[in-house]
């Protein structure tokens, strides 16, 4: 009678597997562990590989690390565009990055190496927790929960959708849940995309390092190769090929620090930004959405000084809208005219805004009518050029004009209502 295994082979047309690789701990293991300056640590849940690297606060990774400690609540608020980050304290932040057994996600994905970084004792400490086999996962997770104990904030790159869900899943499966929701979390992926979406494509950690921090990693491994490297390690216990994974992970952690500093500085130091590297409009919008209109207006003014600004019209219009919101109407009026006279006289929005201002605020029907007629001329030109005009704009114009003419008749020439 055929065994189940023989039947399975017959059914699935998979050739017999290669003989199982040797499970013996490779000779290189102790050498590599010592080369990595790692050690084996035991806790109540078992053993795991522990590695710690300390960096002086003056260590420069694009920027000196200590600059992170100088960041304040409002910096994090801007970086994350999230008021809840106000209470984020630099010395209670844990930088986190995991290396996993799969990129597909789901419950069968394990985090075999968890790297964290934090500031302590006037140093920057990177700790790495590595499981030599799946059986060490409980010990690893427990160690992780220990280092989280005195932390309140997290900084990651795509951690909200990737690293934390994976760790959360691992916690649930090992019946050792960590309340991740309780942490203030700054995910640099979203923050970076806001700032650099247009200038850095794709907006990956490595591309940011290259473009913003100004260095290129040597001999780094691509992320998609990592799961296979770990599976090979599980089979043959050879540490050599996974040494670069540890190094890759340390680099990631250090970059989290520097990129955070960079992003926060883009907001706090928006007056002195290096040109052509940032999405200026996004910076203004962040200030606006966080409710700081005067800073948003100021940022507009700063950026409008730049030559060849790609989002010129967008920023001018935003500038005027902000001024309007703050009821600085005369300034807004000037900006609208700036658009009409100097930038793009075919853009409908300033005409509409000006007409509204004259009609409703200044109650100057003549001026309002004059601006509507100007707009009409411009729009007719566009209509001729393009062979048609957006109906909404046209209708609005006609409607507004009719109303103004009517008002004018009612009140007599030039009269006030």
């Amino acid at each position: 009678m055929a065994s189940i295994k023989e039947k399975l082979r017959g059914l699935s047309h998979i050739s017999a597997a290669a003989p199982a690789a040797e499970r013996r701990e490779s000779d290189s293991s102790s050498r590599i562990i010592s080369e990595l300056d790692a050690r084996i640590v035991e806790n109540d849940y078992g053993a795991y590989v522990f590695r710690e690297k300390r960096f002086s606060l003056n260590f420069v990774h694009g920027v000196p690390l200590h600059e992170f400690l100088e960041l304040k609540g409002p910096d994090f608020v801007c970086a994350g565009k999230n008021q809840e980050l106000e209470g984020m304290q630099p010395d209670k932040v844990l930088f986190i990055d995991t290396e996993t057994t799969g990129l597909a996600g789901g419950t069968g994905t394990y985090a075999f190496l968890v790297g964290v970084g934090f500031f302590a004792d006037s140093e920057f400490v990177v700790r790495q927790y590595f499981m030599r086999d799946y059986g060490e996962e409980p010990a690893l997770l427990h160690a992780l929960s220990r280092v989280l104990q005195d932390k309140t904030g997290l900084v990651s790159y795509n951690g909200k959708s990737y690293d934390i869900p994976v760790l959360n899943t691992r916690g649930i499966i090992n019946k050792d849940r960590i309340p991740w929701d309780a942490f203030k979390h700054l995910d640099l992926l979203h923050a970076s995309r806001r700032l650099w979406r247009k200038t850095i494509t794709p907006c990956t950690l490595q591309n940011i390092e290259q473009n913003i921090l100004g260095f290129r990693r040597e001999g780094d491994i691509p992320g998609w190769e990592i799961p296979a490297l770990y599976f090979d390690f599980l089979r043959n216990r050879d540490y050599e090929p996974i040494v670069p994974v540890f190094k890759h992970n340390v680099m990631d952690i250090l970059s989290l620090v520097s990129i955070t500093v960079n992003i926060c500085r883009a907001f706090s130091g928006y007056e002195n930004l290096q040109q052509n590297q940032y999405d200026y409009f996004s910076i203004i919008k962040t200030f606006e959405e966080l409710g700081d209109h005067s800073k948003a207006v100021h940022a507009c003014e700063v950026f409008l000084e730049y030559e060849s600004l790609p989002e010129l019209v967008q920023i001018l219009l935003k500038n005027a809208t902000l001024l309007k919101k703050m009821n600085r109407m005369e300034e807004a009026e000037r900006v609208w005219f700036k658009v009409i006279d100097r930038v793009n006289r075919f853009f409908p929005e300033p005409y509409t805004e000006l007409a509204k201002y004259y009609e409703h605020k200044l109650r100057d029907i003549n001026r309002a009518l004059e601006i509507v007629e100007r707009a009409e001329k411009r729009m007719n030109i566009i209509a001729e050029l393009r062979g048609g005009l957006n109906n909404d704009i046209k209708e609005q114009l006609i409607y507004r004009k009719q109303r103004l003419v009517r008002k004018l008749k009612q009140t007599g020439e030039g009269g006030e209502t």
């Binding site: 189940i4 295994k5 039947k7 399975l8 017999a16 057994t101 086999d133 799946y134 059986g135 499966i173």
Partner: protein, 771 residues
């Protein structure tokens, strides 16, 4: 005319009656009521009363009592007997008892799931007047927007989904469904008779995984299953859920008077056994009712035939000066909004006739119509009753007519009304332990949670049962580098998502896609299973698809694609298949002096060798060519019946006749099997052997056309005599002279004496019982 008058006129119509084989009168039935169960939350009773439900039917009360007391329950009821209350009430009762309680509903299709929610909401709304929290129910399927998913995962009391979504979308992410799994009290599986064969065997394994996850979260849900009337509802539900079941089948719903007519189109060519087209007959019959403005549903077998009949009927309306828009079509491929509009039109009576595929067979609420016409036997008796149940109100008269096609099953049914109208003979068969299916799901399960090194997959909630082979399969997967053993557990070790690679519905693992290159924009016109491809779409074959001939330009075997273009030629092609069967292992055998029956593992190898070009009408052979395709091997389970060596003498035929007779028996048996084992005809294949290699006796083999088998052959081993008896009925009642496609196969295939010899052999099988 009213329906009563139309039925009277039918009774008097001798032309019509010469083709009816049976009139079944089903008298009206009074409702049987029962009180609300004692331990039911009073707020539910109030809500139901507001809803107009003052009392429960007997089966509802029993089902609710059983489910509330924590028994796994299977409810067998006909269409429209109020079965949804049977599970909605216990579930709502649980939520009222603890607002953390959760339930999971599984429906075979997305459309049914959507429809279910509408009904649930109407009760929940009334209930919410009395409670201070919302009872939330959601569908969760491929169409659910990402933005809504988080709320469903954390706060949905009732999550309505389908097995495919549970398999690929929910369980591999169970950690995001912690609330659901920790508090799961009920799992509802509606239309469980739908899950048979391959689909059912897959579902049984999906449920094994689901229970494993529940155990992890310490929940112990109760199963409530609903089934149409089949021979083995308890057995099927127990196989699918792996838990013992309590049966509720005391239907208490009222039913109006009904006539059920079996109609067989007249024979137009006796020699070849050809009957008048059943589609044309359906058209004539349906027009008659529609003409009198009786609300009528017509069920067709294919989407194409829906459109054909729809055109006929609309023309008919125009000719009779009536609005063609009173007749609508309904099938897959129509837009959801359009479907909703048609459903509504049927409910409010603004649509008189609808021509549908089986899309309207299941649960969707279209109210109840007066007449149902079925063009062809729907394939199973339970489907037939579900379709017929679309006509019939709680009071008043209704009518269902089955118009038979010339296929063997149809012919059997119309000539043997006892199969339709007495105890259901058909069983839902699954084999959750099919190795191919099992292996796929053990992979998925290992991805979901690591296996313990003493775990047995498929055990009950109470810890008993489970498969002996679990650990061996896990070892195999470790050797394949998919799993890794560490610290007493088997862990997933691959950067893949195994559920994605496993389809719950596909019968064959691979199909050949047929691509029409007639016009510059290439078009896929169909698929064909891998095993049929060498016969049907080899190079230079003439392939016929929906009445159109196509020439096969190239069969790209590696890529599983056949390229064809339209042609119009006077011949067809007939490929020869060399099939070989080897018995690998005998699982059960029954030897007597007069015969041997058995079932076990076999390898069937097929290779297409050559094909002939045959002229239409004259059947002249006008050329041939070799086919060069690799041999295909299928490891599966087979049933066999061996006659004694001297059978030819004992029934008085020569060897040539015996050969033809065995071929004829092999044909007819495999065609009749679906009467007893719910399945498609293509789920089986059969082969006659005048001298079977191992034992040198004339033998018929019938096997499951799926790697590893799904339990059909095993069932056949136990019931083959019923199948033989039914085969005798089919063959002897068939009007043809020497064999036709409606019984033993055409004379060209089975010879002049095939039919008569088959009857002798079948008679021998029935009389010489093995036990």
């Amino acid at each position: 005319m009213t329906i009563d008058q139309v039925i009277d006129s039918l009774k008097r119509d001798s032309g019509f009656n010469s083709n009816t084989t049976y009139w079944k009168h089903i008298p009206a039935r009074e409702a049987e009521y029962a009180e609300f169960p004692e331990n039911l939350d009073k707020r539910i009773i109030t809500a139901l009363q507001k809803h107009g439900i003052k009392k429960l039917y007997t089966h509802q009360a029993d089902a609710i009592t059983s489910a509330i007391s924590g028994k796994n329950t299977v409810i067998v009821t006909p269409t429209a007997s109020g079965k949804t209350l049977c599970y909605n009430i216990p579930v709502l009762n649980a939520v009222l008892h603890s607002r953390e309680a959760r339930a999971l509903y599984l429906f075979p299709t997305k459309a049914l799931a959507q429809d279910q929610l509408t009904e649930l909401h109407s009760i929940v709304e009334l209930l919410e007047e009395d409670i201070d929290f919302d009872i939330k129910s959601y569908t969760f399927d491929g169409d659910t927007p990402q933005s809504a998913r988080k709320a469903i995962k954390s706060s949905g009391h009732i999550v309505v989904t389908n097995p495919d979504m549970l398999h690929t979308g929910v369980m591999p992410h169970h950690t995001t469904w912690v609330k659901l799994f920790e508090n799961l009290q009920y799992i509802v599986i509606d239309e469980i008779h739908h899950y048979r064969g391959v689909f059912g065997s897959h579902l049984a394994n999906v449920i094994r995984r689901l229970k494993r996850i529940c155990r992890f979260y310490n929940s112990n849900p109760v199963f409530i299953c609903c089934s149409a009337t089949i021979a083995n509802p308890v057995e099927l539900a127990e196989h699918v859920t792996g838990e013992p079941m309590f049966l509720v089948d005391n239907n208490g719903a009222p039913q109006g008077e009904k006539y059920f007519i079996l109609y067989n189109p007249p024979v137009v060519n006796r020699e070849l056994g050809i009957r008048r087209s059943y589609i044309k007959e359906t058209q004539r019959i349906a027009s008659r009712f529609i003409n009198h403005m009786l609300q009528t549903i017509v069920f067709m077998r294919t989407r194409m035939s829906v459109e054909i009949l729809l055109t006929y009927l609309k023309d008919f309306m125009r000719k009779n000066k009536k609005s063609a828009s009173l007749i609508r079509g309904y099938r897959g491929g129509y837009l959801p909004l359009q479907r909703r509009e048609i459903e509504k039109g049927l409910r409010d009576g603004s649509i008189t006739g609808v021509v549908s595929t089986n899309a309207l067979e299941l649960g969707i609420d279209i109210g109840r119509l007066q007449v149902c016409v079925m063009a062809g036997y729907p394939g199973t008796i339970s489907s037939t009753w579900q379709q017929a149940g679309r006509s019939g109100r709680r009071t008043g008269l209704s009518l269902a007519i089955l118009v038979a096609s010339s296929s063997p099953l149809d012919q059997y049914i119309v000539n043997h009304p006892e199969y339709m109208f007495s105890k259901s003979p058909e069983s839902g068969i699954v084999d959750p332990d099919n190795l191919v299916i099992l292996l796929s799901h053990i992979k998925c399960a290992a991805f979901e949670l690591p296996f313990d090194t003493d775990e047995r997959f498929g055990g009950r909630f109470d810890g008993s049962g489970g498969l002996d082979s679990t650990q061996e399969i896990l070892e195999y997967l470790a050797e394949e580098n998919v799993l890794h053993r560490a610290a007493g557990k088997w862990h997933w070790m691959a950067d893949t998502y195994p559920a994605e690679a496993v389809s719950l519905r596909s019968a064959a693992e691979e199909n050949v896609v047929i691509i029409d290159k007639t016009r510059p924009d290439e078009k896929v016109i169909g698929e064909i299973d891998l095993f049929a491809a060498p016969l049907m779409v080899h190079d230079e074959a003439i392939y016929i698809h929906e009445g159109q001939q196509y020439h096969v330009d190239k069969l790209d075997w590696e890529r599983r694609k056949a390229y064809v273009h339209e042609v119009n030629v006077d011949h067809y092609t007939d490929a020869q298949l060399k099939t070989d069967l080897k018995v690998i292992e005998i699982f059960e055998e029954n030897q007597t002096l007069t015969n041997t029956t058995g079932y076990g593992e076999v390898v069937v190898s097929c290779v297409a060798t050559m094909f002939k070009k045959v002229k239409f009408n004259t059947h002249e052979n006008i050329g041939w060519a070799k086919i060069n395709l690799p041999e295909l091997e299928l490891h599966t389970m087979a049933f066999w019946y061996s006659f004694p060596e001297e059978i030819a003498q004992s029934i008085g035929v020569d060897n040539q006749q015996l050969g033809d007779g065995i071929k004829a028996v092999s044909n007819v048996l495999s065609r009749v099997v679906p009467l007893f084992v719910m399945s498609d005809m293509r789920d089986f294949a059969s082969m006659p052997m005048v001298r079977a290699p191992l034992w040198q006796k004339p033998t018929v083999f019938i096997w499951d056309q799926y790697p590893g088998g799904v339990g059909f052959s095993k069932k056949l081993f136990h019931i083959y005599q019923d199948v033989a008896r039914a085969s005798i009925g089919l063959v002897s009642d068939c009007g043809c002279e020497n064999g036709c496609p409606s019984c033993v196969g055409p004379v060209l295939e089975v010879g002049e004496y095939g039919k008569s010899t088959a009857l002798l052999l079948l008679d021998y099988m029935v009389k010489n019982a093995g036990k």
